[in-house]
């Protein structure tokens, strides 16, 4: 891949019920921070891409609501409806195709709607939707399949919650820092067996933005770039019955592409930090395995030994992850931003020493059906 870099990042604080803010207010806050971070003004931006979803926003053409706020006036602008890792991937494509800089933003206000109804609408209206299935109950099926296959325990899953909620204390943008013990997580009520309340992400409001630039523009800036080394994305089957839910085929395929572009042959050794999709605790374990950071079925033990802690051998979700703030669609962009900050050495209190290569993951659809993987690095 030709060199492309993330040269500016911005995010709002993630909170439940940001009732004072419109979608536009959130986007403007994130975009102006990203521009400031890059040392740019809106005039330095060639094109704009946005990320939103008509269901979550409760309006058709959801990107219309933020057109003033995203700075796209008199610029080419388009919208990717899906997680920020996918939208930002398309921003990279447009820069590779010849545009100098692209501002990409994504927003979400989970508190304005009824999440189970909206995630129910991911499921097939003819064969599945009437069951009342949603993101939580489908995740429970997947969690059970995965845990049974590898003998993963609820305690091992609980460790993810304890670790990530703890990490969130050091991230000023995170919504839900919590001091927890494994016992606390295990004692929380079941939402859908085997998933308990403290295995789940919160509902969040917020927005994030990045400035992506081609090599020429990136090098001319004072800002420290985080270089995009590889991007892969891949989609699994739709009907849950068509998949072995304990497997991570799409994530493995996406990783393979991204690692090949980045020249990584042994991710377990070469990756210094990962930000993964942990809306439910078991997903972090599956992600660690799917990204090739440990062997299949071993992420529980890998986590238990502290390898993925902020000061561990391979920190995972040093930011606090989605379990601490889950603005849907923005979530994957937040993972990219965290990786960029870590590579730049700008992650503040949650900075991990010596991050040279970092991996971000985002998902679309039920049970991680469509997966996107980014590899970021400090060198061009």
């Amino acid at each position: 891949m030709e060199p492309v870099a993330i040269v500016g990042v911005g995010m709002t604080k993630f909170e439940r019920d940001r009732v004072r803010d419109t979608f536009g207010d959130l986007v403007f806050e994130a975009c102006t921070r990203a521009l400031d971070d890059a040392g740019m003004t809106i005039d330095d931006i060639d094109i704009v891409l946005t990320g939103s979803n008509d269901f979550f926003d409760g309006r058709t053409i959801s990107s219309m609501a933020i057109m003033d706020a995203c700075g796209s006036y008199d610029k080419n602008v388009s919208t990717v409806e899906g997680d920020g890792t996918f939208g930002a991937a398309h921003a990279v494509m447009r820069v590779l195709a010849g545009w100098g800089t692209c501002l990409y933003c994504a927003h979400h206000k989970g508190s304005e709607s009824v999440m189970p109804l909206i995630t129910n609408a991911m499921f097939d209206p003819i064969y599945e939707r009437f069951l009342g299935i949603d993101s939580v109950t489908s995740a429970a099926l997947q969690a059970r399949a995965y845990m049974d296959r590898y003998g993963v325990t609820e305690e091992q899953c609980a460790q993810v919650s304890v670790k990530n909620h703890g990490n969130a204390f050091k991230n000023p943008y995170a919504q839900l820092p919590l001091q927890l013990t494994i016992e606390d997580v295990l004692a929380s009520p079941y939402v859908a067996d085997p998933i308990k309340l403290l295995d789940c992400c919160p509902i969040s409001d917020g927005a994030s933005a990045v400035v992506i630039a081609g090599a020429q523009r990136a090098k001319a800036l004072d800002a420290k770039p985080a270089w995009v080394k590889g991007i892969g994305y891949n989609c699994d089957a739709y009907h849950l019955g068509d998949r072995d839910l304990s497997k991570v085929d799409a994530l493995q395929a996406a990783s393979k592409t991204a690692y090949a572009q980045a020249g990584i042959s042994d991710p377990a050794k070469e990756v210094d930090l990962a930000e993964v999709h942990d809306t439910f605790t078991y997903l972090e374990l599956m992600a660690i395995e799917g990204l090739g950071l440990c062997r299949m079925g071993e992420a529980g033990e890998f986590t238990a030994f502290g390898n993925t802690a902020q000061d561990g051998r391979l920190p995972v979700n040093a930011s606090g992850g989605c379990i601490s703030s889950n603005p849907v669609l923005v979530a994957g962009l937040n993972s990219i931003i965290e990786c960029a900050l870590q590579i730049r050495g700008d992650a503040g209190e949650h900075q991990v020493d010596g991050v040279k290569t970092a991996v971000a993951q985002g998902v679309n659809g039920p049970c991680g059906q469509s997966q996107c993987v980014w590899v970021l690095g400090g060198d061009e």
Binding site: R18, V19, R20, D21, T22, G24, D25, F28, T32, I42, F55, G58, M67, D68, A69, G71, S72, Y73, D74, K109, S111, E112, S113, V114, L117, I118, A121, P125, I126
Partner: protein
């Protein structure tokens, strides 16, 4: 007729009375606008610090300047008719779930003191009696019935 046979042969699954309820934030300035309509029957716009344009409906960023706006300025409840239509086809209004009563006059209005336009009803359903440039005035819902929504303005009337 093929269509009738189709309807027998091919099943459709009805969504039923699915509702996706939302609670959208009006924001700092939008809240002020709606509150002022509700409590004082007064219109406010928001002014761009760079180009000086006054926007109604209110928004917090001037797109062309990419500048944040914070200054509310009073605008009139009277203005000019910019363009109009008379809507006569029936449709279900997604805001109410009910059939929209037709015909109704529908207009783009420039309030005195604003640079952008507002869209609302006009109490005239004969297009021959409407013309761009006509003067119009807001008619508010009665005291005690206003709830803090755009429907606190019943419609605009020709002056």
């Amino acid at each position: 007729m093929a269509a009738a046979e189709d309807k027998k042969m091919f099943l459709v699954i009805e969504s039923g009375n699915v509702a996706q309820p939302f609670r959208w934030s009006a924001g700092t300035y939008g809240s002020k606008f709606l509150t002022e309509i509700r409590d004082n029957k007064k219109f406010w716009g928001i002014k761009c610090p760079k180009c000086g344009k006054v926007y109604v409906p209110i928004r917090s960023v001037c797109g062309p300047c990419y500048a944040e706006m914070t200054e509310l300025v009073p605008v009139s409840d009277e203005g000019n008719l910019i363009t109009f239509s008379v809507v006569s086809f029936g449709f279900v209004d997604p805001s109410t779930g009910k059939q929209k009563p037709v015909p109704y006059g529908y207009a783009v209005i420039k309030l005195d003191g604003a640079d952008s336009y507002l869209i609302h009803y006009i109490d005239e359903t004969d297009p021959e009696k409407l013309k761009a440039g006509m003067r119009v005035r807001a008619v508010f819902e009665e005291d005690g019935k206003r709830t803090g929504s755009m429907m606190d303005i019943k419609h605009f009337e020709l002056i």
